[in-house]
Symmetry: C2
Subunit: 201 residues, 2 copies
Amino acid sequence: MVIYPNEIENLIEKFNKLPGIGRKTSEKFVFYLLKQKPEFLNEFANSILNLQKNLNFCQICNNFSGIQNLCEICQDTSRNKSQLCIVEDIQDLAVIESTKEYQGLYHVLGGQINPLEGITPEKLNIQKLIDRVKKEKFSEIILALNPDIQGEATSFYLIKLFKPLKIKFTRLARGLPMGSDLEYTDETTLTNALKGRQEII
Amino acid sequence: MVIYPNEIENLIEKFNKLPGIGRKTSEKFVFYLLKQKPEFLNEFANSILNLQKNLNFCQICNNFSGIQNLCEICQDTSRNKSQLCIVEDIQDLAVIESTKEYQGLYHVLGGQINPLEGITPEKLNIQKLIDRVKKEKFSEIILALNPDIQGEATSFYLIKLFKPLKIKFTRLARGLPMGSDLEYTDETTLTNALKGRQEII
């Protein structure tokens, strides 16, 4: 392995910790930054320093809440307070919001149950969710978790937990994504698309 | 597009400027950093701030020289001073050094000639190279530029420039990379491998 001066190695090491970034890509980033003006490096460093400052999380749903205690969605009186959408993280919330299709409330779990990585239900915002579901009268709870093994496990855990409450539980539809090609679609997706087929006439 | 709070958008924007990094990957980086301890963010920011400090470039070859005026290679009296290897950037120098195969000196151009991107010969360390080649008596100049269009153009420019000096000019061998598969090798590489075939018995 090629070793560079300390200043360079230190930063390579940091970039190397980012998800999906290996040593070679880290080197590419550092050599790119070496060619930039000092002002850009200052701004970059400041953006990192400021990231966690002034960033609070909503006491109800765990979304970003800026400098306030509650997020914009929980404060918005025009939202449908009888629907609750459970998401894994804030990015999933943001992407659902961007569709403008959903008008209810959210609850951010902060992860998926994954015992192999030590993420047990206690480590997620599930207690808060239980308290909330017991207190509020939701007519529907939408599970908007990823369609993968951990997402399924988390959904299963939540369904079991809330079964006694007899609330309507739904999950996002499984089927063919737009722009896909039947020929290259995996069997599970195709099975789901067949099972969930919709009447058109 | 999903819009996040300012603190997050600012950093997404910075990561987005790194080579090969799009908006989605930038978001992934920022949300990863959000989950890290403040100490890690401080160290990351400091590594960026310190990157360009205390980092000088060798007055002869343009390699890193730490806090000194000349780099370790130019200062090393045991190196073969009759060979000069011309490379595009310091990363290429480092990777050649890591082979331990070459014992001569280097000259870092700082880029490739690329008129479309406004990189003309004047923007590279070519004047310094001309002065150096006229002063020192090199017995061989090795062109270790990338085997692509810009690399070829740069080599061609340098060969034309130094032709009157009648120095031995070589370039890195073209041929099959280790671990490759003849069946999937492109025609140019295979043509080069045939042209440069080596006698083994």
